[in-house]
Protein backbone atom coordinates (compact mmCIF):
# COMPACT_ATOMS: atom_id res chain seq x y z
CA UNK A 1 0.00 0.00 0.00
CA UNK A 2 1.25 3.42 -0.95
CA UNK A 3 0.96 5.09 2.44
CA UNK A 4 1.87 2.03 4.49
CA UNK A 5 5.50 2.90 5.18
CA UNK A 6 4.53 6.48 5.94
CA UNK A 7 2.06 5.30 8.58
CA UNK A 8 4.61 2.93 10.06
CA UNK A 9 7.01 5.83 10.44
CA UNK A 10 4.39 7.45 12.67
CA UNK A 11 5.11 4.73 15.23
CA UNK A 12 8.63 5.98 15.81
CA UNK A 13 7.38 8.19 18.62
CA UNK A 14 6.28 5.14 20.63
CA UNK A 15 8.42 2.81 22.79
CA UNK A 16 9.25 -0.59 21.36
CA UNK A 17 7.08 -2.53 23.83
CA UNK A 18 4.06 -0.46 22.89
CA UNK A 19 4.78 -0.81 19.16
CA UNK A 20 5.01 -4.57 19.49
CA UNK A 21 1.60 -4.71 21.14
CA UNK A 22 -0.44 -1.99 19.40
CA UNK A 23 1.68 -0.85 16.43
CA UNK A 24 -0.05 -2.92 13.73
CA UNK A 25 -3.48 -1.88 14.99
CA UNK A 26 -2.60 1.81 15.01
CA UNK A 27 -1.20 1.57 11.47
CA UNK A 28 -4.40 -0.18 10.35
CA UNK A 29 -6.46 2.60 11.98
CA UNK A 30 -4.44 5.25 10.13
CA UNK A 31 -4.87 3.34 6.85
CA UNK A 32 -8.62 3.06 7.37
CA UNK A 33 -8.96 6.69 8.38
CA UNK A 34 -6.68 8.47 5.93
CA UNK A 35 -6.08 6.02 3.06
CA UNK A 36 -3.71 7.67 0.60
CA UNK A 37 -4.20 11.15 2.01
CA UNK A 38 -1.37 12.72 3.98
CA UNK A 39 -1.67 12.73 7.75
CA UNK A 40 -3.05 16.08 8.94
CA UNK A 41 -0.83 18.11 11.24
CA UNK A 42 -3.32 17.67 14.07
CA UNK A 43 -3.07 13.89 13.74
CA UNK A 44 0.73 14.00 13.66
CA UNK A 45 0.76 16.09 16.82
CA UNK A 46 -1.69 13.67 18.45
CA UNK A 47 0.70 10.80 17.69
CA UNK A 48 3.76 12.68 18.97
CA UNK A 49 1.97 13.61 22.20
CA UNK A 50 0.55 10.12 22.70
CA UNK A 51 3.92 8.49 21.92
CA UNK A 52 5.67 10.70 24.46
CA UNK A 53 2.96 9.79 26.96
CA UNK A 54 3.65 6.09 26.41
CA UNK A 55 7.36 6.67 26.96
CA UNK A 56 6.56 8.44 30.21
CA UNK A 57 4.16 5.79 31.39
CA UNK A 58 6.39 2.99 30.13
CA UNK A 59 3.38 1.03 28.95
CA UNK A 60 2.95 -1.60 26.29
CA UNK A 61 2.75 -5.25 27.06
CA UNK A 62 2.33 -5.34 30.84
CA UNK A 63 5.79 -6.33 32.07
CA UNK A 64 6.29 -9.09 34.58
CA UNK A 65 8.46 -8.70 37.67
CA UNK A 66 11.69 -9.11 35.68
CA UNK A 67 10.35 -6.71 33.06
CA UNK A 68 9.68 -4.07 35.71
CA UNK A 69 13.17 -4.52 37.11
CA UNK A 70 14.49 -4.11 33.59
CA UNK A 71 12.53 -0.88 33.21
CA UNK A 72 14.04 0.54 36.41
CA UNK A 73 17.46 -0.43 35.12
CA UNK A 74 16.96 0.95 31.60
CA UNK A 75 15.38 4.15 32.94
CA UNK A 76 18.35 4.66 35.27
CA UNK A 77 20.79 4.08 32.41
CA UNK A 78 18.92 6.62 30.28
CA UNK A 79 19.37 9.14 33.09
CA UNK A 80 23.08 8.26 33.25
CA UNK A 81 23.46 8.92 29.51
CA UNK A 82 21.59 12.21 29.90
CA UNK A 83 23.95 13.12 32.73
CA UNK A 84 26.95 12.50 30.44
CA UNK A 85 25.52 14.96 27.92
CA UNK A 86 24.95 17.39 30.77
CA UNK A 87 28.60 17.08 31.79
CA UNK A 88 29.68 18.06 28.26
CA UNK A 89 27.20 20.94 28.06
CA UNK A 90 28.03 22.03 31.60
CA UNK A 91 31.76 22.06 30.86
CA UNK A 92 31.07 24.24 27.83
CA UNK A 93 28.95 26.56 29.95
CA UNK A 94 31.61 26.75 32.69
CA UNK A 95 34.26 27.66 30.12
CA UNK A 96 32.01 30.26 28.50
CA UNK A 97 31.00 31.81 31.82
CA UNK A 98 34.58 32.27 33.07
CA UNK A 99 35.21 35.72 34.58
CA UNK A 100 31.61 36.86 34.09
CA UNK A 101 31.72 38.75 37.38
CA UNK A 102 34.73 40.81 36.28
CA UNK A 103 32.63 42.75 33.76
CA UNK A 104 29.35 42.84 35.71
CA UNK A 105 28.55 45.89 37.85
CA UNK A 106 28.73 44.93 41.55
CA UNK A 107 25.13 46.03 42.12
CA UNK A 108 23.89 43.58 39.44
CA UNK A 109 25.89 40.54 40.54
CA UNK A 110 23.53 39.15 43.17
CA UNK A 111 21.05 37.28 40.93
CA UNK A 112 23.56 35.84 38.41
CA UNK A 113 25.86 34.91 41.30
CA UNK A 114 23.04 33.06 43.06
CA UNK A 115 22.07 31.30 39.82
CA UNK A 116 25.68 30.38 39.08
CA UNK A 117 26.09 29.08 42.61
CA UNK A 118 22.93 27.00 42.21
CA UNK A 119 24.33 25.51 38.98
CA UNK A 120 27.59 24.62 40.71
CA UNK A 121 25.80 23.16 43.73
CA UNK A 122 23.44 21.07 41.60
CA UNK A 123 26.33 19.90 39.41
CA UNK A 124 28.26 18.79 42.50
CA UNK A 125 25.18 17.03 43.87
CA UNK A 126 24.63 15.28 40.53
CA UNK A 127 28.25 14.15 40.38
CA UNK A 128 28.01 12.76 43.93
CA UNK A 129 24.78 10.91 43.03
CA UNK A 130 26.43 9.33 39.97
CA UNK A 131 29.46 8.28 42.04
CA UNK A 132 27.21 6.80 44.75
CA UNK A 133 25.33 4.92 42.01
CA UNK A 134 28.59 3.51 40.70
CA UNK A 135 29.76 2.59 44.20
CA UNK A 136 26.61 0.69 45.17
CA UNK A 137 26.73 -1.41 42.00
CA UNK A 138 30.44 -2.18 42.45
CA UNK A 139 29.97 -5.43 44.44
CA UNK A 140 27.63 -6.78 41.75
CA UNK A 141 30.18 -5.73 39.12
CA UNK A 142 32.98 -7.58 40.93
CA UNK A 143 30.78 -10.69 41.23
CA UNK A 144 30.02 -10.50 37.53
CA UNK A 145 33.72 -10.27 36.65
CA UNK A 146 34.50 -13.27 38.81
CA UNK A 147 31.82 -15.25 37.00
CA UNK A 148 33.27 -14.53 33.55
CA UNK A 149 31.39 -11.31 32.74
CA UNK A 150 34.54 -9.67 31.41
CA UNK A 151 34.03 -11.16 27.94
CA UNK A 152 30.74 -9.25 27.45
CA UNK A 153 32.15 -5.83 28.35
CA UNK A 154 35.77 -6.18 27.23
CA UNK A 155 35.42 -4.19 24.01
CA UNK A 156 33.60 -1.08 25.35
CA UNK A 157 35.81 -0.97 28.47
CA UNK A 158 39.05 -1.23 26.47
CA UNK A 159 37.77 1.46 24.10
CA UNK A 160 36.96 3.76 27.03
CA UNK A 161 40.38 3.12 28.63
CA UNK A 162 42.17 3.86 25.34
CA UNK A 163 40.27 7.08 24.61
CA UNK A 164 40.57 8.28 28.21
CA UNK A 165 44.32 7.55 28.25
CA UNK A 166 44.80 9.61 25.08
CA UNK A 167 42.75 12.43 26.64
CA UNK A 168 44.88 12.38 29.80
CA UNK A 169 48.09 12.51 27.74
CA UNK A 170 46.66 15.38 25.68
CA UNK A 171 45.72 17.22 28.87
CA UNK A 172 49.24 16.86 30.29
CA UNK A 173 50.79 18.01 27.01
CA UNK A 174 48.44 20.96 26.66
CA UNK A 175 49.03 22.13 30.24
CA UNK A 176 52.80 21.87 29.78
CA UNK A 177 52.55 23.85 26.54
CA UNK A 178 50.34 26.50 28.14
CA UNK A 179 53.04 27.19 30.77
CA UNK A 180 55.35 28.43 28.02
CA UNK A 181 52.75 30.79 26.50
CA UNK A 182 51.61 34.27 27.35
CA UNK A 183 48.00 35.20 28.18
CA UNK A 184 47.31 36.50 24.64
CA UNK A 185 48.57 33.29 23.05
CA UNK A 186 46.53 31.17 25.44
CA UNK A 187 43.40 33.16 24.56
CA UNK A 188 43.57 32.11 20.90
CA UNK A 189 46.23 34.33 19.31
CA UNK A 190 48.40 31.26 18.65
CA UNK A 191 46.32 29.19 16.23
CA UNK A 192 48.18 25.84 16.72
CA UNK A 193 47.41 26.09 20.43
CA UNK A 194 43.77 26.99 19.71
CA UNK A 195 43.54 24.01 17.33
CA UNK A 196 45.06 21.70 19.94
CA UNK A 197 42.57 23.04 22.48
CA UNK A 198 39.66 22.25 20.16
CA UNK A 199 41.05 18.74 19.57
CA UNK A 200 41.43 18.27 23.32
CA UNK A 201 37.77 19.32 23.83
CA UNK A 202 36.69 16.70 21.28
CA UNK A 203 38.84 14.11 23.07
CA UNK A 204 37.13 14.97 26.38
CA UNK A 205 33.71 14.54 24.75
CA UNK A 206 34.80 11.20 23.24
CA UNK A 207 36.17 10.12 26.60
CA UNK A 208 32.91 10.91 28.38
CA UNK A 209 30.91 9.16 25.65
CA UNK A 210 33.02 5.98 25.68
CA UNK A 211 33.07 5.84 29.49
CA UNK A 212 29.27 6.18 29.55
CA UNK A 213 28.94 3.45 26.91
CA UNK A 214 31.20 1.18 28.99
CA UNK A 215 29.15 1.91 32.12
CA UNK A 216 25.92 1.10 30.27
CA UNK A 217 27.40 -2.12 28.87
CA UNK A 218 28.67 -3.14 32.31
CA UNK A 219 25.43 -2.35 34.13
CA UNK A 220 23.06 -3.83 31.56
CA UNK A 221 23.82 -7.43 32.46
CA UNK A 222 24.58 -7.07 36.16
CA UNK A 223 22.40 -8.99 38.57
CA UNK A 224 21.50 -6.21 40.97
CA UNK A 225 19.72 -7.15 44.21
CA UNK A 226 16.30 -5.52 44.62
CA UNK A 227 17.61 -3.21 47.34
CA UNK A 228 20.40 -1.93 45.09
CA UNK A 229 18.05 -1.60 42.12
CA UNK A 230 15.66 0.53 44.16
CA UNK A 231 18.55 2.70 45.31
CA UNK A 232 19.81 3.10 41.72
CA UNK A 233 16.32 4.13 40.60
CA UNK A 234 16.00 6.65 43.43
CA UNK A 235 19.43 8.09 42.63
CA UNK A 236 18.41 8.41 38.97
CA UNK A 237 15.30 10.40 39.90
CA UNK A 238 17.39 12.62 42.20
CA UNK A 239 19.97 13.17 39.45
CA UNK A 240 17.14 14.27 37.16
CA UNK A 241 16.08 16.83 39.75
CA UNK A 242 19.70 18.06 39.85
CA UNK A 243 19.64 18.42 36.05
CA UNK A 244 16.43 20.46 36.28
CA UNK A 245 18.17 22.74 38.79
CA UNK A 246 21.25 23.07 36.58
CA UNK A 247 19.23 24.04 33.51
CA UNK A 248 17.05 26.43 35.51
CA UNK A 249 20.12 28.05 37.09
CA UNK A 250 21.80 28.36 33.70
CA UNK A 251 18.76 30.07 32.20
CA UNK A 252 18.41 32.45 35.14
CA UNK A 253 22.13 33.31 34.96
CA UNK A 254 21.83 33.88 31.20
CA UNK A 255 18.75 36.05 31.52
CA UNK A 256 20.16 38.09 34.42
CA UNK A 257 23.43 38.74 32.62
CA UNK A 258 21.66 39.59 29.38
CA UNK A 259 19.71 42.22 31.30
CA UNK A 260 22.52 43.68 33.40
CA UNK A 261 25.76 43.05 31.49
CA UNK A 262 24.99 42.11 27.85
CA UNK A 263 28.50 43.14 26.79
CA UNK A 264 29.78 39.96 28.46
CA UNK A 265 28.34 38.02 25.48
CA UNK A 266 30.33 40.18 23.06
CA UNK A 267 33.68 41.92 23.39
CA UNK A 268 33.50 42.12 27.17
CA UNK A 269 34.09 45.87 27.10
CA UNK A 270 31.74 47.42 29.66
CA UNK A 271 29.02 49.44 27.98
CA UNK A 272 29.48 47.93 24.51
CA UNK A 273 26.56 46.30 22.74
CA UNK A 274 26.32 42.57 22.04
CA UNK A 275 23.73 39.94 21.14
CA UNK A 276 22.29 38.36 24.30
CA UNK A 277 22.01 34.99 22.48
CA UNK A 278 25.57 33.91 21.70
CA UNK A 279 25.96 30.62 19.72
CA UNK A 280 27.90 28.98 22.56
CA UNK A 281 25.04 29.51 25.02
CA UNK A 282 22.46 28.35 22.47
CA UNK A 283 24.50 25.18 21.95
CA UNK A 284 24.97 24.53 25.67
CA UNK A 285 21.34 25.34 26.48
CA UNK A 286 20.02 23.13 23.67
CA UNK A 287 22.23 20.22 24.74
CA UNK A 288 21.06 20.58 28.32
CA UNK A 289 17.40 20.78 27.27
CA UNK A 290 17.64 17.67 25.07
CA UNK A 291 19.48 15.77 27.79
CA UNK A 292 16.88 16.84 30.33
CA UNK A 293 14.06 15.53 28.13
CA UNK A 294 15.84 12.16 27.97
CA UNK A 295 16.42 12.23 31.73
CA UNK A 296 12.76 13.00 32.45
CA UNK A 297 11.71 10.10 30.21
CA UNK A 298 14.10 7.80 32.05
CA UNK A 299 13.08 9.06 35.48
CA UNK A 300 9.41 8.69 34.55
CA UNK A 301 9.97 5.07 33.60
CA UNK A 302 11.91 4.48 36.82
CA UNK A 303 9.28 6.16 38.99
CA UNK A 304 6.46 4.17 37.43
CA UNK A 305 8.21 0.83 37.74
CA UNK A 306 9.84 1.50 41.08
CA UNK A 307 6.61 1.35 43.05
CA UNK A 308 5.61 -1.91 41.36
CA UNK A 309 9.04 -3.43 41.87
CA UNK A 310 8.76 -2.53 45.54
CA UNK A 311 5.40 -4.29 45.72
CA UNK A 312 6.72 -7.52 44.12
Amino acid sequence: MKGHSRFERSLRWYPMDWRNRYGDELVALLEDTYGDRPLPLRCRLSLVRAGAGEWLSGSGAEPDRDGRRQQVRSGSLLVLCAWSVFVVAGAGFAKFAEHWDAVTPPTDRRLPAAAFGAVQGAALAGAVLVLVGAAVSLPAFVRSMRQGGWATIRLPVLRAVAVTSVTVLLTIGLVAWAHHLGPQQRQGALWPYAGAGAFWALAVVASIATCSAAAVAATRYLHLPLRVLRLEGTLAVMATVAMVAILAGTLVWWGALAASAPWFFGSGVVGSSASPVPPAMILCGSLMALALIAAVLGAGRVARSLTRVSAD
Binding site: D24, E25, L26, L29, D32, T33, L47, A50, S59
Partner: protein, 129 residues
Protein backbone atom coordinates in the same frame (compact mmCIF):
# COMPACT_ATOMS: atom_id res chain seq x y z
CA UNK B 1 -21.96 17.48 53.88
CA UNK B 2 -21.77 16.26 50.30
CA UNK B 3 -23.97 13.35 49.37
CA UNK B 4 -22.09 10.08 49.24
CA UNK B 5 -21.54 9.11 45.65
CA UNK B 6 -20.87 5.73 44.11
CA UNK B 7 -17.19 4.92 43.54
CA UNK B 8 -16.57 4.91 39.80
CA UNK B 9 -13.19 4.03 38.37
CA UNK B 10 -11.52 7.31 39.27
CA UNK B 11 -9.36 7.68 36.18
CA UNK B 12 -12.33 7.32 33.83
CA UNK B 13 -13.38 10.88 34.57
CA UNK B 14 -16.12 12.88 32.89
CA UNK B 15 -18.56 11.85 30.21
CA UNK B 16 -16.43 13.19 27.36
CA UNK B 17 -13.25 11.45 28.51
CA UNK B 18 -11.94 9.00 25.90
CA UNK B 19 -12.11 6.08 28.34
CA UNK B 20 -15.81 6.65 29.07
CA UNK B 21 -16.59 7.08 25.37
CA UNK B 22 -14.80 3.85 24.47
CA UNK B 23 -16.51 1.86 27.23
CA UNK B 24 -19.87 3.29 26.17
CA UNK B 25 -19.19 2.32 22.59
CA UNK B 26 -18.06 -1.22 23.51
CA UNK B 27 -21.12 -1.72 25.72
CA UNK B 28 -23.04 -2.46 22.53
CA UNK B 29 -20.56 -5.10 21.33
CA UNK B 30 -16.92 -5.72 20.29
CA UNK B 31 -15.32 -3.23 17.88
CA UNK B 32 -11.87 -2.53 16.44
CA UNK B 33 -10.14 0.86 16.48
CA UNK B 34 -11.61 2.38 13.34
CA UNK B 35 -15.17 1.20 14.15
CA UNK B 36 -14.78 2.61 17.66
CA UNK B 37 -13.68 6.01 16.37
CA UNK B 38 -16.61 6.15 13.93
CA UNK B 39 -19.14 5.01 16.53
CA UNK B 40 -17.94 7.58 19.07
CA UNK B 41 -18.07 10.30 16.43
CA UNK B 42 -21.65 9.28 15.66
CA UNK B 43 -23.14 9.05 19.15
CA UNK B 44 -21.05 11.70 20.96
CA UNK B 45 -19.97 14.03 18.16
CA UNK B 46 -16.39 13.69 19.42
CA UNK B 47 -13.53 12.93 17.04
CA UNK B 48 -10.77 11.09 18.88
CA UNK B 49 -7.33 11.39 17.28
CA UNK B 50 -5.57 8.06 16.66
CA UNK B 51 -3.00 8.77 19.36
CA UNK B 52 -5.68 9.64 21.90
CA UNK B 53 -7.81 6.62 20.96
CA UNK B 54 -5.01 4.09 21.29
CA UNK B 55 -3.64 5.80 24.40
CA UNK B 56 -7.05 5.31 26.03
CA UNK B 57 -7.31 1.72 24.74
CA UNK B 58 -3.88 1.02 26.28
CA UNK B 59 -4.93 2.39 29.67
CA UNK B 60 -8.28 0.55 29.64
CA UNK B 61 -6.65 -2.75 28.72
CA UNK B 62 -3.95 -2.32 31.35
CA UNK B 63 -6.65 -1.88 33.97
CA UNK B 64 -8.64 -4.86 32.74
CA UNK B 65 -11.68 -2.81 31.73
CA UNK B 66 -11.52 -4.01 28.12
CA UNK B 67 -9.84 -6.97 26.46
CA UNK B 68 -8.78 -7.88 22.95
CA UNK B 69 -10.66 -10.69 21.27
CA UNK B 70 -9.31 -13.22 18.81
CA UNK B 71 -9.34 -12.04 15.23
CA UNK B 72 -7.38 -10.06 12.68
CA UNK B 73 -4.24 -8.90 14.48
CA UNK B 74 -4.24 -5.63 12.51
CA UNK B 75 -7.90 -4.86 13.19
CA UNK B 76 -8.25 -6.53 16.55
CA UNK B 77 -11.72 -6.14 18.08
CA UNK B 78 -11.98 -5.18 21.75
CA UNK B 79 -14.78 -6.03 24.15
CA UNK B 80 -15.78 -4.62 27.50
CA UNK B 81 -15.06 -6.82 30.54
CA UNK B 82 -17.21 -7.30 33.63
CA UNK B 83 -15.00 -4.80 35.48
CA UNK B 84 -15.41 -2.42 32.57
CA UNK B 85 -19.22 -2.72 32.75
CA UNK B 86 -19.14 -2.05 36.48
CA UNK B 87 -16.88 0.98 36.02
CA UNK B 88 -19.07 2.36 33.23
CA UNK B 89 -22.23 1.75 35.26
CA UNK B 90 -20.76 3.70 38.16
CA UNK B 91 -19.83 6.60 35.90
CA UNK B 92 -23.27 6.59 34.28
CA UNK B 93 -24.96 6.59 37.71
CA UNK B 94 -22.91 9.60 38.74
CA UNK B 95 -23.60 11.41 35.49
CA UNK B 96 -27.31 10.69 35.87
CA UNK B 97 -27.31 11.98 39.45
CA UNK B 98 -25.65 15.21 38.31
CA UNK B 99 -27.99 15.50 35.30
CA UNK B 100 -31.05 14.98 37.53
CA UNK B 101 -29.80 17.55 40.00
CA UNK B 102 -29.11 20.03 37.21
CA UNK B 103 -32.52 19.45 35.67
CA UNK B 104 -34.23 19.90 39.03
CA UNK B 105 -32.39 23.14 39.73
CA UNK B 106 -33.15 24.46 36.28
CA UNK B 107 -36.76 23.28 36.65
CA UNK B 108 -36.48 21.67 33.26
CA UNK B 109 -39.52 19.50 34.01
CA UNK B 110 -41.57 22.65 34.66
CA UNK B 111 -40.25 24.08 31.42
CA UNK B 112 -41.17 20.91 29.53
CA UNK B 113 -44.67 20.94 31.03
CA UNK B 114 -45.08 24.61 30.19
CA UNK B 115 -44.03 23.96 26.62
CA UNK B 116 -46.73 21.32 26.33
CA UNK B 117 -49.47 23.48 27.93
CA UNK B 118 -48.37 26.67 26.15
CA UNK B 119 -47.74 28.50 29.44
CA UNK B 120 -45.21 31.41 29.10
CA UNK B 121 -42.46 31.33 31.74
CA UNK B 122 -41.18 34.50 33.38
CA UNK B 123 -38.93 36.65 31.12
CA UNK B 124 -35.36 35.34 30.97
CA UNK B 125 -36.23 32.08 32.78
CA UNK B 126 -34.49 29.04 31.39
CA UNK B 127 -32.77 30.86 28.53
CA UNK B 128 -29.32 29.70 27.67
CA UNK B 129 -26.72 32.43 27.73
Amino acid sequence: MPRRRSQPDQALGRSNEPGVLILTSLASGPMHGYALAKDIEEFAGVTLGPGTLYGAITRLEERGLIEATAGDSRRRPYRITADGRAALAAVVRDMRAIADEGAARLRLRVLARDMITGHQPAPGFGRAR
